[in-house]
Symmetry: C2
Amino acid sequence: MTDQPHGAVEAVDTVLAALADPTRRRLLELIAAQGEATATTLARHLPVSRQAVVKHLAVLDAAGLVSSGRVGREVRYTVRPAALDTTARWMASLAADWDRRLAHIKHVAEAAERESRTGRDDASRPPEQPHGGT
Amino acid sequence: MTDQPHGAVEAVDTVLAALADPTRRRLLELIAAQGEATATTLARHLPVSRQAVVKHLAVLDAAGLVSSGRVGREVRYTVRPAALDTTARWMASLAADWDRRLAHIKHVAEAAERESRTGRDDASRPPEQPHGGT
DNA sequence: GCGACGTGCAACTCTGGAGTTGCACCCACT
DNA sequence: AGTGGGTGCAACTCCAGAGTTGCACGTCGC
């Protein structure tokens, strides 16, 4: 196990899928708080069976969010910031990209507005409110 | 519609759930690229029906990732960076928190290591490799 | 060796969400 | 008025994934 995807894109993919589940987020919380934890221990703090926890840990491991290490008869899990950080950066740059696009569109719209206003005086146009949305 | 959750926590919750689906991410991509788009238009660029797109847009809207605006007989959707940005920050701070905890644990472990080494010389101990994990 | 504890594997149930189809409604255009 | 394109609503199918149970195997402690 612990074969995280090669491409950064798929990494983000699996990380997002992994983080989508509340139980898995809770698991990460618990592991991070304790520094180290086993499936059995974690299951005690959750309303699900050990097997369910094991499956979740497998998903988290595949996403590179945790790493497993065997110590004697037990398997200890630790949190792994790298993948999470990568995803955070991806998301932040995406948000920035959206911002840029929106600013650009707004600029273009305003330019067109000025253009039409100076060119000819047609105040009789359908409302076309840009986006009241919320 | 477009009633985004009040608490920031639930916001992150819904955003993560929304971003978990590849089709929805593709939708956001398309909307961001075009600046504005309708469900019908978007469906033409995707291998799914318009209704499927509508449902996805409803989810994205509930997560605050898009905003809808009616223009004549069509409903146009635009991208909304705010929620995405919030989630990105949440994720980044979480990663930073993990980093802090790991550094702390490592520090403590090293201190304990030095302690036991100077206190008594017991080289006959089980391996206990910290975490080869991957 | 023996019991206790933790893990691993497999088969099973069941619900949520992704997707579809069909139809009714609204608005623009001529 | 009537037609076409876009939206909205509802009922339906289908399957991945979350969770369970049961049992076998390895490992620690005595």
